[in-house]
Amino acid sequence: MNAIETASLAKLFPGGHGVHALDLTVPAGAIYGFLGPNGAGKTTTIRLLLSLLRPDAGTVRIFGEPLTAHRRGALAHVGALVESPSLYGHLSGRENVEVTRRLVAAPQGRVDAALRLVDLVGDADRLVRTYSLGMRQRLALALALLAEPRLLILDEPSNGLDPAGILELRSLLRRLVAERGITVFVSSHLLAEVEQIATHLGVIDRGRLLFQGTVEQLRRRAPARLLVGCDDVARALELLRAAGERATVDLGGTVVVALAERSGAEINRLLVEHGVGVGRLALDEASLESLFLALTRGEALAA
């Protein structure tokens, strides 16, 4: 069962920006990192997933239930935090949660449970206008978790959090997935924020989904590179290319070989046997960050 499934989802704004033909598939129980540079269409996608925007085309299904402007029942499974926290500063933390509880008719006991989950019980009776940014973010998470959702949609949740706050958020999300089996869909423009917790990734840029799959699948799309320091770069390039290898030279004069069929040892042997002295061999595995950047810069990756 997929937690989120969209088919050809599109929304265009005047000026041409928006999202085009998105086919998202978020498996239930996954932590799905939705990545893209600022302005890539992440927030538009999230607003479409929450029925805050009407799509120009395409469909959204949440746990198999269709979500439209008139069929909003699927939202009962969803807790969301869209961009900055939406809180009433003149009310206390507890009163803020109570407002949402009354709206969704959750049991009274859920208020304290949600506050406990985000470690805000001690400050629950303070007015929200006195909260720090991190506390406001945690309170907004409490609102999202109030009705015990099966799917949590978070839009750039670590915006404005300090490093300790980001760590806390990560550990909370891991706990929620491990203990309650909920699905988390989290958007970010920074891969580093989600790569440590995400099981699945979607990369979007200019409104188009460039990659979707597991973290492993993404890694496999960019082969490791072999960096070769040798005494005759021109000869080495000639030999490698003649042998069918994709070899280039970087600015420092190092030969860079995209590893495919041959291993590093075989390339070394090939060069040495043809009289090229090899002084240095190093394996350079692509980081997710570089893969992400390559994707969003439009560089080709292996399929």
């Binding site: 029925s51 009310l91 109570e98």
Partner: protein, 259 residues
């Protein structure tokens, strides 16, 4: 009652309960007492500091004259401005930190949020009417003490006072419904207040013209300036107009996109 209606009623009850909680510690709530108090204080000062006559020897006539002056100031100027402010403040609670994106992502029909907001505004107007009734009585009592020759004596005409205050709210329903739509439709506090102030000031002229019968911002004051038959017309026009505008507002709100 079918399951759908029951669920709808439960959602509206929940949204109303949420609205009542949101009003805690707000200026919107405090203004329900402050605004009518300002009107009553001005009228007490007007009659207390001058020798303006208050209806001769009949104490009930004096009460009616004092209350009538308060009603005139309230209905003509203060109430339209108060409605403008209340609508802007209530809508501002949701515009402030862009709460709509949280509220409208909840599994609650969109129109429920709007209906609850409208009901909160109307409830505040009725609460203000009750406060106004009590404040006029209190103002009259103060006037009795500072100016015994004014002619006020005995109990105020409670039922008449209350009926007039409530009738003004009914006549203001159309104006309030339009103001709420403006305040929710545009997130800027300035737009909502400017629209209300412009409409109020325009009412000074339009109210005296042949279109005055129909002008939403002057319907409350028409209860006191025209004949008895016009009272029923003003209230009926306000109720029917409010129902129509509310219907259109709900349609508009249900289609609105949250960016």
């Amino acid at each position: 009652m079918s399951g759908g209606w029951r669920a709808g009623a439960r959602a509206i009850a929940g949204a109303l309960a949420a609205e009542s909680l949101k009003l805690r510690r707000t200026l919107a709530l405090r203004m329900c007492l402050v605004t009518p108090a300002v009107v009553v204080v001005l009228c007490v000062l007007q009659f207390g500091l001058t020798k303006t006559p208050l209806g001769g020897a009949d104490p009930q006539a004096a009460w009616r004259a004092f209350a009538g002056a308060s009603f005139a100031l309230w209905a003509f100027l203060m109430m339209p401005l108060f409605v403008t402010l209340e609508a802007a403040l209530l809508a501002g609670l949701e515009h402030g930190e862009r709460q709509w994106k949280h509220l409208l992502a909840l599994p609650v029909p969109r129109v429920v949020h709007y209906l609850a907001k409208w009901a909160a505004l109307i409830a505040l107007l009725f609460a203000t009417a009750l406060a106004f009734t009590a404040l006029i009585a209190a103002g009259g009592w103060v006037l009795m003490q500072v100016r015994p020759d004014a002619g006020l004596a005995g109990w105020p005409p409670w039922w008449w006072l209350l009926r007039c205050c409530l009738a003004m709210v009914v006549a203001a329903l159309l104006m309030a419904t339009i103001q709420l739509w403006v305040a929710i439709r545009w997130s800027s506090f300035t737009v909502a207040v400017a629209a209300g102030m412009t409409a109020t000031v325009a009412g000074f002229m339009i109210g005296q013209s042949r279109f005055g019968h129909w002008y939403p911002w002057t319907l409350p004051v028409q209860l006191f300036t025209r004949g008895r038959e016009h009272v029923d017309f003003a209230m009926a026009a306000s109720v029917l107009g409010a129902a129509m505008v509310l219907g259109l507002s709900l349609w508009d709100f249900a289609r609105r996109e949250v960016e």
